[in-house]
Symmetry: C2
Subunit: 438 residues, 2 copies
């Protein structure tokens, strides 16, 4: 009995170990896939390794160690804390760190000088009170949105340095020498970080933002076209192989909806980057954020549209067939406009094609409106066809006409709404083009 118990126990332990190993394997496999999908992540890891190893030479090489001594620690710390994935983030943190450190260092030395004149009794009081006040003020400044966006890290470093310097000034004698060593090691660490992150396969926040925005435009176009096609094109049964892909395309607009935070932080970081590739120093990054906002409003329209389509509606097939070609045309045309916009941003020059496509899209929408206006005429005499010719008016008037005209087909109304938003989007973006060019 004891023997069987033992065996059972051993078996149990083996099972648990195997389970853990299996889970670990799965985890590692998943992580590996993450890296394979984006090899730059691997490269980033190697870059961190390179930066750290080279900064640790300060400990290994005798002449270097004699130069800075134990303060080499600060260089290592700087590298670890400051090194970020994108070059923009690294530069931002470096600038923040250097500014915060030097400002706090000067202030702390000033306070220390004042305090040391005030006598032994008062010294800790003065230092303590100033520490309390400045730390509170700096903490508060981190709540202010404009500072939070750009100098959050700098404020943190300010508090850190000020408290370290002012407090240790009470015990350490050669404060100035220490501050000088620390400052120089931090500078060494920072410059190393900037060099490594900008020279070895740099990842630019601006480039990332640009890829994200153009990719999102494409996704939006695919979603729009996909859902219109899916709804009206019921004749061909989608093949099982394609189905997964189509479903993915359809859900592309969700990425657009959820990419707000990423876009904003990227645009913030991109501002710190020097000119690189095809981007100038004063590239209008904030325009990307605006395009993103327009895209999101467009995506929320598509969301509503897809919600409508997915509810099992019982429209007559007859009606559907009547509408199908014309509304497919609207869908395709607006998708084409969005795609062309993506290309325009990609090439960063105004293409004349956009205008042509916009006109085409608007005429398609107008056709749909006319169709809808004529259709109910068979049923009711109320048709207020006030066709307008200017582009924006045509877009914004699409709703008016349809208020009267749209009967029978919710999805169509939604499509036209999407067209409206798309036109607004186009307006924004054509305005952007001029700036991107400049």
């Amino acid at each position: 009995d004891n023997e069987t118990l033992k065996r059972a126990l051993v078996g149990c332990m083996w099972a648990v170990t195997a389970g853990v190993v299996l889970k670990l394997c799965k985890f590692v496999k998943k992580a590996w896939e993450l890296g394979v999908n984006d090899p730059r992540k691997f490269i980033h890891c190697l870059k961190v390794g390179v930066a750290l190893s080279s900064v640790s030479l300060f400990y290994y090489l005798k002449p270097l160690y004699d130069g800075v001594g134990g303060n080499a620690m600060w260089a290592i710390m700087t590298v670890v804390v400051v090194f970020e994935y994108t070059a923009g983030a690294t530069i931002c943190k470096t600038v923040n760190r250097i500014c915060g450190t030097s400002l706090a260092g000067f202030l702390a030395i000033g306070v220390h000088w004042v305090a040391s004149r005030a006598g032994d009794q008062l010294e800790p009081v003065i230092v303590g009170v100033s520490l309390f006040l400045l730390a509170s003020a700096a903490t508060f400044s981190r709540f202010i949105p404009t500072i939070k966006a750009r100098f959050d890290y700098g404020a943190l470093i300010f508090i850190l340095t000020f408290s370290l310097v002012s407090v240790s000034g009470y015990r350490v004698d050669e404060l100035l020498v220490m501050a000088q060593y620390r400052m120089s090691t931090i500078l060494i660490g920072s410059s190393l970080c900037i060099i490594v992150s900008m020279i070895l396969c740099p990842v630019w926040a601006g480039q990332e933002l640009y890829v994200l925005v153009t990719g999102n435009l494409d996704k939006l176009a695919n979603s729009l076209q996909g859902c219109v096609t899916q709804y009206f094109d019921c004749t061909e049964a989608p093949e099982a192989e394609n189905e997964e892909e189509t479903r993915k395309q359809l859900l592309g607009y969700k990425c657009v909806l959820s990419s707000k935070a990423t876009e904003e932080s990227m645009a913030n970081l991109a501002r710190w980057e020097p000119a690189h590739g095809r981007f100038n120093f004063r590239h209008p990054w904030s325009q990307y954020v605006k395009i993103g906002a327009s895209m999101r409003s467009c995506a929320s329209c598509i969301d509503a549209l897809i919600g409508c389509i997915n509810s099992d509606n019982e429209t007559s097939d007859d009606m559907k067939r009547n509408m199908s070609s014309i509304s497919m045309k609207v869908g395709t045309n607006s998708a084409r406009v969005i795609r062309e916009l993506a290309t325009t941003i990609r090439n960063m020059k105004k293409s004349s094609k956009v205008d042509i496509l916009v006109t085409e899209m608007n005429s398609a929408a107008q056709e749909l409106r006319n169709f809808l206006n004529s259709y109910p005429n068979m049923l009711s005499p109320s048709s207020q066809n006030n066709a307008k010719d200017t582009q924006t008016e045509a877009a914004s008037s699409s709703d008016d006409d349809d208020d009267v005209a749209a009967k029978r087909e919710i999805p169509l109304i939604e499509i036209i709404q999407v067209v409206t938003v798309a036109s607004l989007l186009i307006e924004t973006v054509t305005r952007v083009e001029g700036i991107v060019e400049a």
Copy 2:
């Protein structure tokens, strides 16, 4: 001439100074308002001051300083870096810091022991290679989403400690003693942070999340009701005084749309918090994120609806009047349901009122559908009134009926869609209730 030039220069300088001072004043005023609106921010700043001042006692009091010496620096550093606005974030960072430090410390000492056996020539090579490998691996782990959400800071600290300990082990002799001191000072700093952040007016991430979600539900209800009222209730001209407020209410749904990132991070932090107030230790925080997602889909519907209303549509006033009472009812009822849900979550117990209100809302929606079904009958004979009685079916079928029935009125169609989403929301939330109760 020289005199006038001088005067002009002085005047110019005064003007510039005055401008800067004015700007600074404005900035300070804005910041002050930020604090007055949420006094807890002031309190947080004072808390940081208190924590820093008390940890700096290690320098001022001779017996304490003799105990830890220059390592007191690490206690200060811990306080500055770890102290966050919410208690959850502080605890999360503390745990991360302690785990990361101890794990890295043990590993580094192990590597150092191995390297020191290997001889003087090999020692830096072994340390360097292990540093390179571990730093790369830890950096890579920060890309993995599950680790990023919870242990991002821990991984950073792991790299920092490992590199500091393993590298300085090459120069410092009494590595173990140093590690012990540092560990103890970090522990002191951490516990001080936790105590201060949890005892002095704590700000709980869970509480914040809870207030945010219930507030957002209210905003959603206000937006929904506001836009329906604005559209149909054209008789009274809104007073100038109220207008600003109404507009604010209308835009409330935008907050809902953009609060995704906040909600997720809050839910993540809330998990670290101990039981407090009315929240148990295993409070289902992830449910709040789900409610947030439902709210967002609801808000994007309202967005589409408002977009429809704002386009200057030319519906006949006659029609509008016919619809107004019934659609106001739908709007009011759904707003009431959302508000009741907010109350339910606020009280954290299932209220029977929700069910009643849901039934009311559904019957109102049904009424609207019936109206729409009957209305076009005056124009066309195609009415497929397949009224369903079960609650969810009624909700999901609203679109079907309207595909056929909805004529003349885009906004109404949208309203019904909102109702659909609202019902879905209700479904989610009623499911949640059971868990919140438990």
